[in-house]
Amino acid sequence: MAKIWQSVILSILGSGAMFAAPGTVGAQINKPNVAPPAVESSAPPAAGTAVAPAATGGVAVPSSSVGSAVAPVDSGAPVAPVANSDVPVFDAWVAEASKKAGVLPRSVVFVRSLGETPGTELRFLPLDTEAFNKLSFISAANSTNADWDFKLNKRKFAGMDRLAAVVALTGADCVVLAPEKGEWQVIRPDGAKRTILSTGQAPKSTANEDLIEWLFISLGWDGIVLDQKGNYLLVGSTSKSMSFPQIQALAVNDSTAKIVLKANERIGAGLLSLREAKMGVGIFDIVFLGQGITSIPIGTKLVIEKKN
């Protein structure tokens, strides 16, 4: 499977690709001396490949038709692990990784209005949080609790910056300003500062699936490394992406500090393959690493193979 995708990538990237020759994958894992794949937004999609969302600049990844040997499984069903005694225990690793820093964002809150203009109030987008949280590794703040907490703590938040209040209320590290009309924004709150990470058209609906899809398109990546142990990476993504056994992903070089990736920032650092998954979290094998790359640090963003 890895060989198939690797050959496809090579065929897409043509002479610009810096992968090692096919058939050397197994050897590359412990010999990370191959050059990273240059994932260029200008590369034309080959026939039979899916084009990544336009907003991300069109990074080409193999489609399900290419990897026809990979049988899609029902969404939410656990992906069966390949037997290997040195693979970390899934649940224990997830618990361990949840305490580690360096992963952004981990939690998001959708706000209808910050209530910063006269006559408006702070309003959260009503959300079925429980259902939303099953769809990806990113958890959403409970809008009902946040709304009520704002009323309970009105005195505290009376003179406070509204974005800071939203963060204090929800603990979210990413705020989506989602007005009923107009464009939506992904905002990174940082103390008194606020950075607008991306602005774009609202999703087609506020159904959880559409919100998740919109969020990951806005972020410009499909997954994030939560932790690394040897040749294994714990990755946070969407339940949908994690539902395909052995799906492959590209780790993007030098992406740990970036919350949003632009198309021209996607330089490959290594090739990964899904080993085991539960909902939006999976363990990936490192298939091979790019030249000069020795590890995939926590917070590294991934572009994952698209399948339907």
């Binding site: 997830v94 309970l152 909902m279 979290v281």
Partner: protein
């Protein structure tokens, strides 16, 4: 997602903790506790009762509409426990019975940091602690504080009945009255039910909302006559229907509930009602009609009108009693005065005073140097004053300061010179006509339920408006006593109480006339004399 997988959900499942409440009468911001032992004892008694009634209405399930958030309470006067167990709590109600304002604060304590969660300020009243005798007032204060609290009421599984699942709560109480005396706030239409925790790191409340309740029915209380007592409003309840999610969650433990508009959403409305209630109650207190007010014995409007019009109307008669010397003394000894007095002691015109004193023309035939001469004296005066008073907190109950404006008419023919045989050598005409007078009076009052004793000192100066007139000055002091408790006379539906007056005053008058003989270097232009009048009177009070 990660948290779900890791099973690291926040510990909200803990049992809801119902706190103890400390209710403190703050002595620093309150009026001084009376020094008199009996009065201090009464003050303490009033506070204990006030605290008990307030504490009860703040307790779980015992407030209006099912509100109530505290499991127990204790009462403090300053730092001293006066009732209940002395135990620490993060919740306090601080009550200030101040001279300038009355204040209620719901305070939350987090370590050394305190934060005022709810605050209501009302006009001051020396009868404030007695207001809590009224259940309606206690409900009003308790509800206001609970409305501002993050915990309004506690809903338990045991309260849920019927299908659809509902719970009921008692209606607002009217106390002993047959109708509500103040505006009754509406029971919340919707309640939010939730678990609640205090986040010590973030210094904020964190909730876990479980669902909602909708007000489905309101049964108003009904008038009921109790044997030997006036009718009053009894019963009444409010029914709330809960969602299935709430019903299911209640199986795991009780939940807090609060109006869906959030804590403090009705503050301005409640503040207005409390302030209005204080004005009405204070007025009733000043007219010694608090108990009548509580029972609603009279229509509220009538009571207010009664209170607004309360005052005295009296007549009095006095006779000069100081021994006189010489011809002038002989004349003055024969004088009498009649008076009319009108004092507003309550209502919006409280402090207004009007006095009319008249001395009928009195003549005396005196032996003159050349034969009998006739001296005479008469005057009348209208005085309008306004009295401001305050309680000095010692010696007397009230100090009054009364600036006065008046009009005197003074006509007299008085001996102004005597010969060596003490016969009148010369008479002076003091026809001052109408004089315009200014005055100031200071009084000290001792009050009881059946008498008022008042000592006073006043000065007056009147200037004649006539060219031939002059000036009249008066320095006087006296004692007035009012004895109430006489028979009550019905008058157009209003009961007029009778009171007996007794008075004595000493007055030193100086007269200067522009028309008195001015011949010679030692021209005499005035005369002065001292008089003392004692008398009785009758007053009607309402």
């Amino acid at each position: 997602m990660l948290l779900i997988l890791a099973g690291a959900s926040k510990a909200f499942g803990e049992e809801i903790k119902v706190d103890h409440l400390r209710i403190v009468l703050d002595l620093k911001s309150s009026r001084k506790v009376p020094k008199d032992k009996a009065e201090a004892k009464q003050y303490l008694k009033d506070w204990k009762r006030a605290c008990k009634n307030l504490g009860s209405a703040l307790s779980v399930g015992k407030g209006p509409y099912g509100f109530g958030a505290f499991g127990s309470y204790s009462c403090y006067q300053g730092g001293k426990t006066v009732s209940g167990p002395d135990k620490p709590s993060r919740w306090s109600v601080i009550v200030s019975d101040g001279l300038k304002e009355t204040k209620f604060q719901l305070v939350h304590q987090d370590g050394a940091a305190t934060s005022v969660i709810g605050e209501y300020i009302a006009p001051p009243s020396e009868y404030f602690l007695k207001f809590f005798k009224d259940e309606e007032y206690s409900d009003l204060v308790a509800y206001s504080l609970l409305d501002s609290s993050p915990m309004g009421m506690l809903v338990t599984k045991g309260r849920i009945k019927g299908s659809p699942p509902s719970f009921s709560s008692r209606y607002w109480r009217s106390g002993k009255a047959r109708k509500f005396k103040y505006q009754v706030p509406e029971a919340p239409r919707y309640l939010v039910l939730y678990r609640l925790a205090w986040d010590e790191d973030q210094k904020q409340w964190r909730s876990q909302v479980v669902g909602a309740a909708t007000r489905s029915k309101v049964n108003l209380p009904k008038k009921k006559k109790k044997k030997g007592k006036q009718s009053s409003l009894v019963g009444g309840d409010v029914l709330y229907e809960i969602t299935p999610a709430v019903d299911a969650a209640l199986a795991a433990g009780p939940l807090w509930a609060q109006s869906s508009e959030g804590p403090g959403a009705h503050k301005s409305e409640l503040q207005k009602i409390i302030s209005g209630a204080h004005l009405d109650l204070d007025l009733a207190g000043k007219n010694d009609a608090l108990n009548d007010f509580f029972t609603g014995g009279k229509d509220l409007l009538t009571q207010l009108l009664d209170a607004a019009a309360s005052g005295y109307l009296g007549v009095r008669f006095g006779k000069e009693i100081l021994p006189g010397v010489g011809g002038l003394g002989a004349l003055l000894n024969k004088t009498k005065i009649f008076g009319l007095l009108f004092e507003m002691r309550g209502g919006p015109l409280k402090g207004l005073r009007y006095y009319y004193d008249a001395m009928p023309r009195t003549k005396a035939s005196l032996s003159g140097s050349t034969g009998p001469v006739e001296a005479s004296i008469s005057f009348s005066r209208h005085v309008v004053g306004f009295s401001w008073d305050f309680n000095p907190g010692f010696l007397v109950d009230r100090v009054t300061i009364d600036p006065k404006l008046g009009a005197w008419t003074f006509n007299a023919t008085l001996p102004i010179a005597y010969d060596t045989n003490q016969n009148v050598a010369e008479l002076g005409e003091f026809n001052l006509g109408r004089t315009f007078s200014l005055g100031l009076e200071v009084g000290l009052e001792e009050l009881s339920s059946w008498y008022t004793v008042r000592g006073w000192y006043g000065i007056n100066t009147g200037y004649s408006l006539l060219k031939s007139g002059g000036k009249v000055t008066s320095n006087r002091f006296g004692v007035d006593a009012y004895f109430t408790g006489g028979p009550e006379i019905p008058f157009f539906g209003v009961g007029l109480k009778t009171a007996l007056l007794a008075f004595y005053f000493y007055e030193s008058i100086g007269l200067t006339s522009n028309s008195v003989a001015t011949s010679g270097p030692a021209a005499i232009s005035g005369v002065s004399y001292d008089v003392g009048y004692a008398g009785l009177g009758l007053a009607l009070s309402w």
